[in-house]
């Protein structure tokens, strides 16, 4: 038994049960392509008239979209009535497939799950063979909404009495996810509000700061946060009610109370200290016994090279350089004097724990030592827990002995303090939920102020005025590059290359094309800038191969689409999307014609060169 049903068998069964046309959802693009390839040279072909109808349609379609005229998949589609549909294909080809499907000329379309969200064409049957989908690097289970999106393509209104979902197992399928997905309630949607730099600039351009606070309060994000606030508010009211009997009492001893609480809080915040057998004197000494410190041992003065604990008993140990010039080990408790002098020291990881030159200097220094160098006074820490006030707090007892309400409070202290703590927490949570968005807005505004796009009074500067026109991802990187004149006198193809590498955020591997030296040094510069902005904006991938691809397409007007695609291992659809996105980025730069006429012209030139053949077909 093969792991999953063979595509030919699948289509055969669907045809025999009158379940065509069908959409077969597969995990990967490759799966779709292989399914189609499996049909070549088999007997699963469609009738001649059917084939003819497909051919006529495709010919007709090719008049509007010449890029599909010689598509390599045309023979398979017209002979076998099946097609693949995924993001690796050109949009025009996908549209042709969709239109064929709408007209009922295809029996099966093998598609990746991206289709479910992307386009809208129904079929009689939907075949699902997996319960998970690849998202970025990982496989995730399909959500209920996703499964219903897939299944929803089954059954065409007005063309079918019933639609079908066919589940066919493949390895790693989980049938229950599909069962739940087909019959369950779709997930709730949550706001994904993020504040971006262009948003801040554009809002500040048109609105005052107060108005913006109002606008942010109108967002769905805030609406959902407010709903959470109401839940917390209820809890808070509840707490208030519970606190009622403990009432506001006059507390006269608030200074002592505050001190003790603060101390207790700090003590409790720490983890349990590591238990050592060190004497209090030794514990007080240890912070001073650092490498480079001059100490006095019974034998004479020495310099510490490293401090460590012995593996067995855990006693603190020192590696020292003795006065006579030998390196040795000794226990830290053998230290007699801690002198008030530290030598410059660069520790190394191996014996003798410092550079030989340093060792040499130390030897000389030890030889010329005065008789009694000044020592460091060591004070033993007095244990705080001995404080009677604190010991009471630490045992969860109530403590303000000098307070007049002492007896009243003492009874219910533990409960009341717990309630009060909870009240504080809830109040804080509510504050955070209410102001979170506004704070994030201010953070972004602060960054923009730091870079000089807005003034301290939230007014756009001259730079901010044009920077707000760049409303794409990595806008800060692009505007910074423009501000530092990185693009002055750049050739159109180079600009397009840089934009392509900024725009492309897909890490699907592809071939490495040769970069021109100009572009590669340019990309190096961009990478530097992107890294320096890392704290404010996640840097783009800046792949050099896509930059080279875009540069070739724009720099060589005689290059045709087919040879461009042949020069890379990227799928045709990916190349198209890359260039379309680059076009979008360039057009944003083109909007800066008022302030940066030279750059805008270059962008315009690049756009003009770019829009040819396939890229000119669709608006």
């Amino acid at each position: 038994m093969p792991p999953a049903i063979h595509p030919i068998d699948l289509v055969d069964i669907l045809r025999r049960h009158h379940l065509t046309p069908a959409i077969v959802f597969l995990t990967s693009r490759r799966g779709c392509d292989e399914a189609i390839d499996a049909f070549i040279n088999t007997s699963a072909s469609v009738s001649a008239s059917h084939s003819e109808a497909i051919r006529t349609f495709l010919d007709q379609f090719a008049k509007d979209f010449p890029s599909i005229a010689n598509h390599p998949l045309i023979p398979v589609v017209q002979d076998y009535g099946v097609a693949a549909h995924h993001a690796g294909h050109l949009p025009s080809w996908k549209m042709a497939i969709e239109e064929l499907m709408r007209q009922g000329l295809l029996d099966a379309v093998f598609a990746t799950t991206t289709l479910a969200a992307g386009v809208d064409f129904p079929a009689r049957t939907v075949v699902i063979s997996q319960s998970s989908v690849r998202k970025s690097q990982d496989f995730c289970d399909l959500t209920v909404s996703e499964i219903q999106q897939l299944a929803g393509r089954g059954g065409r209104r007005g063309k079918d009495f019933v639609g079908f979902v066919v589940v066919t197992p493949s390895p790693f399928i989980d049938l229950d996810i599909l069962g739940k997905g087909l019959t369950g309630q779709p997930e709730s949607i949550d706001s994904q509000f993020v504040i971006s730099y262009p948003m801040v600039l554009n809002l500040l351009r048109a609105h005052s700061v107060d108005q913006i606070e109002g606008l942010l309060a109108k967002s769905f994000a805030q609406f959902q946060l407010n709903q959470r606030v109401t839940v917390h508010q209820e809890r808070l009211d509840d707490l208030h009610e519970q606190l009622q009997p403990y009432g506001p009492r006059e507390c006269a001893d608030w200074v002592a109370q505050w001190k003790v609480f603060d101390l207790a809080r700090r003590r409790k915040a720490h983890r349990r200290p590591i238990v050592t057998n060190d004497s209090p004197y030794l514990t007080a000494c240890l912070p001073f016994l650092t490498p480079g410190r001059l100490i006095g041992l019974a034998k004479g003065p020495a310099i510490i090279l490293r401090q460590y604990r012995s593996r067995g008993t855990g006693t603190p140990m020192l590696s020292v350089l003795h006065g006579k010039g030998t390196v040795g080990e000794c226990q830290a408790q053998r230290v007699v004097h801690v002198y008030d002098h530290v030598y410059d020291f660069h520790p190394t990881r191996t014996v003798p724990w410092c550079l030989p030159s340093t060792l040499h200097q130390f030897k000389q220094a030890l030889a010329q030592l005065p008789a009694h160098p000044p020592t460091v006074p060591i004070f033993e820490a007095s244990p705080e827990a001995d404080d009677p006030l604190l010991s009471e707090v630490l045992t969860e007892e109530f403590s303000c002995p000098s307070c007049p309400s002492y007896t009243a409070c003492k009874k219910d202290f533990s409960l009341a303090s717990r309630l009060r703590l909870k009240e504080q927490q809830v109040t804080k949570t509510i504050q955070a939920l209410r102001d979170g968005l506004w704070h994030r807005f201010q953070q972004k505004a602060d960054v923009l102020h730091k870079f000089g796009y807005i003034t301290a009074g939230f007014q756009l500067t001259a730079d901010g005025e044009w920077a707000r026109m760049i409303r794409i991802n990595h806008s800060l990187l692009i505007t910074e590059l423009i501000r530092m004149d990185a693009f002055s006198g750049i050739a159109p193809e180079m600009l397009a290359g840089v934009m392509a590498s900024i725009a492309h955020d897909d890490d699907r591997p592809s071939s490495y094309m040769r970069l021109t030296s100009g572009l590669s040094s340019m990309l190096g510069k961009v990478r530097q800038v992107a890294d320096s902005l890392r704290a404010y904006e996640p840097p783009p991938l800046l792949r050099s191969d896509v930059a080279a691809l875009a540069e070739q397409w724009i720099g060589q007007p005689q290059l045709n689409w087919a040879s461009l695609v042949r020069s890379t291992s990227m799928a045709e659809g990916d190349v198209y999307r890359l260039l379309a996105r680059t076009l979008e980025f360039l057009s944003q730069i083109h909007t800066l014609k008022g302030t940066h006429p030279g750059l805008a012209d270059t962008a315009h030139l690049a756009m003009g060169n770019m829009r040819r053949e396939v890229l000119a077909e669709l608006p």
Binding site: M1, P2, P3, I5, H6, D9, I13, R16, H17, H18, A38, P91, M95, D120, P122, R124, S145, Q148, Q149, A151, G152, R153, G154, G155, R157, G158, K159, D160, F161, V162, G163, F164, V165, V166, V167, T168, P169, G179, L182, T183, G184, Q185, P186, E187, S188, I189, D190, S191, Q192, F193, N202, R205, A206, S219, F220, F223, Q227, R471, L583, L586
Partner: protein
């Protein structure tokens, strides 16, 4: 047996038996598909091929005759099983349903009613009329299953707004969808009345119906707020946001929110969305931030009923659930036959 005969015999075999035959003869045969397997077998030396033919003859094929199909089998009627080889599941299912417990659905019953309805004049559903009418005095959110006819609502709303001499903006999340809709609407309303805006191109932007992606609309609204605009925003009467469930998209969802917040107050909103869990919440939000109230149109019933089937890799087709139609929120019970087959598959999928 010469090569041609052997080829024909092998072609008729299900791939399972081909793998049986190939065992020990072709290395890594399990990686190969049917075509490649047969090619490899025919490429074997002559004496090996003789042995192959013998074992082919000895191969115990209980349903040997059924495998022998004419190249294009006559399409059987849905109730009837097409060939003995494939009839197994049907037979078993019927055997199973003779049990005393509540009878699960049988395959023929499930496959009943496949067909094409005769063309009828289109009668809009109740909810579709309701949605269009509600637009006169409220914003509308439509949350219905995929394929219920949301586009019809959009078209009626566009007609209504155009008749009132208003501008309509239609947004979709993807460029591909915009293009499809542009072609569809140009066809329906006439190319003069439809314009499209993309990141780098503006066609016919003074048309009463404009199609764009949501990002572009957001940018337009930004520009309008700062007073530099070449679109007729004061006559903007209706904004249609298709696939509004994108509001929850981690990367782009914020654009939908911004658009909704910045939309001029005289404009009506029509949000078309697939089934989502909390459309009520969305409607409450819109009501709270806009001057006009927001009306929610939602239902979960599909206009075309959906049924589930389970197809085993051996080619057995059985019902997926015990009930006939897939229904929402009623829970589910897998068909016993599906459970049996799937357990078999899970235990030894690679046998």
């Amino acid at each position: 047996m010469n090569d041609d005969d052997l080829n024909r015999e092998l072609q008729r075999l299900p791939i399972k038996y081909l793998h049986q035959l190939a065992k020990g003869r072709i290395s890594r045969h399990f990686r190969l598909g049917k075509r490649r397997l047969i090619e490899c077998m025919l490429g074997l030396p002559q004496e090996h091929k003789m042995a192959l033919a013998t074992s082919l003859a000895n191969l115990s094929l209980p349903t040997r005759e059924s495998v022998v199909n004419s190249p294009t089998p006559p399409p059987p009627s849905p109730g009837e099983s097409p060939s003995p080889f494939y009839s197994k599941p049907t037979a078993r299912t019927s055997h199973h349903t003779q049990g005393p417990s509540s009878p699960p659905i049988q395959l023929p019953e499930l496959l009943e009613g496949i067909g094409v309805p005769s063309p009828m004049p289109f009668v809009p559903d109740e909810w579709q009329r309701e949605a269009v009418e509600a637009l006169a005095h409220a914003d509308v959110i439509v949350s219905v299953p995929t394929g219920s006819g949301k586009t019809f609502v959009a078209i009626e709303a566009i007609k209504q707004a155009m008749a009132a001499n208003q501008t309509v903006i239609y947004t979709s999340p993807l460029k591909a969808l915009s293009n499809t809709k542009y072609m569809e609407f140009s066809h329906r309303f006439g190319p003069d009345l439809v314009g499209i805006l993309t990141g780098d191109r503006r066609d016919n932007i003074h048309a009463p119906l404009l199609i764009m992606t949501t990002e572009i609309l957001r940018n337009v609204l930004y520009d309008a707020a700062s007073g530099e605009i070449d679109l007729r925003l004061h006559t903007l009467g209706l904004v249609i946001l298709d696939e509004s469930q994108y509001l929850a998209d981690p990367e782009r969802g914020v654009v939908w929110e911004e658009t909704l917040i910045l939309c001029p107050s005289q404009t009506r909103l029509l949000l078309l969305s697939a089934s989502i869990g909390n459309p009520q919440e969305l409607a409450e939000w819109l009501t709270s931030i806009r001057e006009t109230p927001c009306r929610l149109i939602r239902h979960t019933k599909r206009s075309v009923p959906l049924r589930g089937l389970y197809l085993h890799p051996t080619g057995q087709l059985v019902p997926l659930f015990e009930a006939r139609d897939i229904q929402q929120k009623k829970g589910y019970r897998f068909h016993p036959e599906t459970k049996r087959l799937f357990n078999e598959y899970e235990v030894k999928p690679f046998r």
